[in-house]
Amino acid sequence: MAWIVPLVPLVGAAAVVMSRRRPHVAATVAVTAAATAAGAGWWAAATAATGTWRWGEGLRLELAVTGLAQVMVVLVPAVAVPVLAYAASAMRDDPGLVRLLALLQVFVAGMLQLVAAADLLTVLIAWEIVGACSWGLISHQWRDPTRPTAALHAFLTTRAADLGLLAAAAVALATTGSMRYDTLGELRGWPVHAVSVGILLAALAKSAQVPFSPWLFSAMAGPTSVSALLHSATMVAAGAYLLARTVPELGAAGWLPGAVVGFGLLSAVAGGLVATAQTDLKRALAASTTAQYGLMFVAVGSGSVAAAGAHLVTHAIFKSLLFLGAGIALHAAGSGYLGALRLGRALPFAAATFWVGALALAALPPLGAAWSKEEILSATVHRGAWVGAGVLLASLLSALYAGRLAVLAYGPGEPVAGERPTWPERAAVGALAATSVLLGVLWIPALGERVEALTGGDLAAGAAWELPVSLALIGAAAVAVRTLARRGHLLDLALGQRLTAFVAGWFGLSTLARVAVVDPVLALSRVLARFDDRVADAGVRAAARITEALSRSLSSWGERTFDGTVLGAARTLKAVAAGSWRFDDGPVDGFVRGTAAGTVLLASGSRRFDEGGVDGTVEGLARVTGVAGRRARQLQTGLSHHYYVIVAAGLVVAVAVIAFGR
């Protein structure tokens, strides 16, 4: 029955398509469907619904709304509601609105299946559907050729890594006969490592962790609403979610948690740096996404699924809020360049909501996001001091860039005569901001158990020094932002343009991928294609050359030998029958000479034919055969006495064969 959960938005998508002639209706339908889905999700979570779908002999797709899924099935459609509302309003003049709404619904459906999945095959299917939807959403404005290219980049990066999941599923099924999460623990030996590597690879790419991070920048080519959904609850969340579900099962791969922590920490710090250095609002937010998911990875790797899950939720809310705010800013200012915004006075409501989101991003208590980040810190401190230090560094960075973004985007500045947000847009950001604030209830200690139950993990006991240190770091960040802003270096950070550009461009990872992977593959494919056009021909051409050379040498050999034999025999005869008759000392007999001349002629002719020849196997083979064919016809000289010689020669051969061929 759990299938109802992903089915609702799917039906919604169909309904949206059906009402394509009336965009208003379509928008309403879309929002209603998402809300219904959220309701269905609530129901599914409450009843711990499961579902199976028979696929074939021995294969079935299974859903089970347990563990972290209970939260996610509600969260995903819930975030989608304001996003859809915003999209319907912001894109109201776009002829592709209906497509966008429908695709977003499918996107949500895919994500719902992903979170509700109980086995690797089901998750893989959803995983890929989500990826494909992201391609469609990013290339939404397909008339601009750069956008589909960006979409392709994003899609190919994630898909390449997705194969890890495919391999993991295949290996799991091949070795244990099952792909369920709860049987992953049975894996031993190389399969467990293979499965772990596969899942980790897929998760890293999906969650835009180092080294796959740059695809998120490409994803910016899509409409803002897409980004809002993609970064918060769908797509990017999938990686962290999958790890949260599977890492605890894969205990046999002892290296896995460490690797997860390592990649997460790296991404958290690197993403923080990129976000700090970025001068584009959306890109900076995208980099912060990488950083935040990095923190969740760290939590999962440190064994605290609950912290990761909680942060997933809080992050989903404030990140969609931030993106919608960024979209409003974009609409108003016409560009996302951070140097040209400062919309605080122009759009006070939007600014207020954005500030809420930014503070959540900075993890300022008593917002819920701060709680979940503190829990992550607690978990990592248990894991090791250096991890804790890393997380603290990442928090510092997040506070820094959150403040920087808030000030640059919605700080006080000159009012701009841009487009104002419509009421659905305001409602959307308002609702999200409110939720963000409401999540502050998480600080109530009694709710800890509830969080543990809903995420299927345990919370680590925090140390007393953690919160003050965090607060101190936030304070430090605030001071830094303020100082920089005073000096007018908040945008360029006074670090030199090349350095900031390098950092902001993901440390050249993108270029590296192109130089190291894309270009070589393309070059190889071109070489192979050229090779393929000639390959068979080349072989055949060589064969033709050899045949030809052989036949030429044979014919010259034959000229000498055949004639030599004849000549020798003739000389002997001449001696024996001296004087009785005169012998013809003239040139060699016509037949022999004719054949020899003919073959030489043919050989040169065929070489010319060969060199100016055409491509392809059959043609090439035909060429070899064709030369032979012409030569064969030379035997048929039209002269009967030559035929006599052939008969005589044939008889000699016949005698030889019959005598020695027993």
Binding site: L573, V645, A648
Partner: protein, 208 residues
């Protein structure tokens, strides 16, 4: 056989003679002479047959060849309108190859004769070979004989159909072509261009 008998001498004379005559067929410089040397060669073989007690066969051979050679000579002189059927001529091609082929076949077949171990079952001298042949012809091998007859019949019909100057309804040549195609010569296009000159430029045996 011990000692050299008269039969042996005769055999060698006729045998070697027939080979020599055969050789001369291709060494003399007129076709008519060649025809007569050919006849001589057959006569030699005919006599050897007689020596081998196959009198009837020898006789038939000689008579038949006499007739044939006459036809051949007449043919050459009359039909080819070549009064110089007696003219000198040595017209050979691929001579060396021909010599080799002739020698090889001689050596091979003579080798078979000399090396090979044939059964030794000489004919019973008391038997009348002619009568035996007759019995065979009308007995066991009658069918063979009949086939030979049919073959000769077919040959006659065919030779007449090909060679007779006049047909049943006038010129035998008339109408004896392939059905015409509209565009060109009988039986289509594809005539080798350089070829027509060969037909009418006479070299070799003069005619006309």
């Amino acid at each position: 056989m011990s000692g050299v008998t008269l039969v042996d001498v005769a055999f060698w004379v006729f045998g070697a003679g027939s080979v020599l005559a055969a050789w001369l067929v291709f060494r003399v410089d007129s076709m008519v002479r060649a025809a007569y040397w050919l006849f001589a060669s057959f006569v030699g073989v005919g006599f050897v047959m007689v020596l081998l007690n196959a009198r009837f066969l020898g006789l038939v051979l000689v008579l038949m060849m006499a007739g044939e050679m006459t036809i051949m000579a007449v043919f050459m002189v009359m039909f080819m309108m070549n009064p110089a059927g007696l003219n000198p001529m040595t017209m050979v091609h691929q001579h060396r190859t021909a010599v080799v082929a002739g020698l090889v076949s001689f050596v091979a077949l003579a080798g078979v004769g000399l090396v090979s171990d044939f059964p030794d079952r000489p004919v019973d001298r008391g038997q009348d070979p002619t009568e035996a042949l007759g019995v065979e012809l009308l007995g066991e091998s009658m069918l063979i004989f009949e086939i030979a007859g049919v073959t000769l019949l077919a040959t006659m019909i065919g030779a007449i159909a090909l060679a007779s100057k006049r047909g049943r309804y006038g010129d035998a040549q008339a109408g004896s072509v392939a059905p015409e195609l509209p565009d060109s010569a009988p039986s289509g296009t594809l005539e080798p261009a350089a070829e027509t000159s060969m037909d009418h430029s006479g070299h070799g045996m003069g005619h006309g």
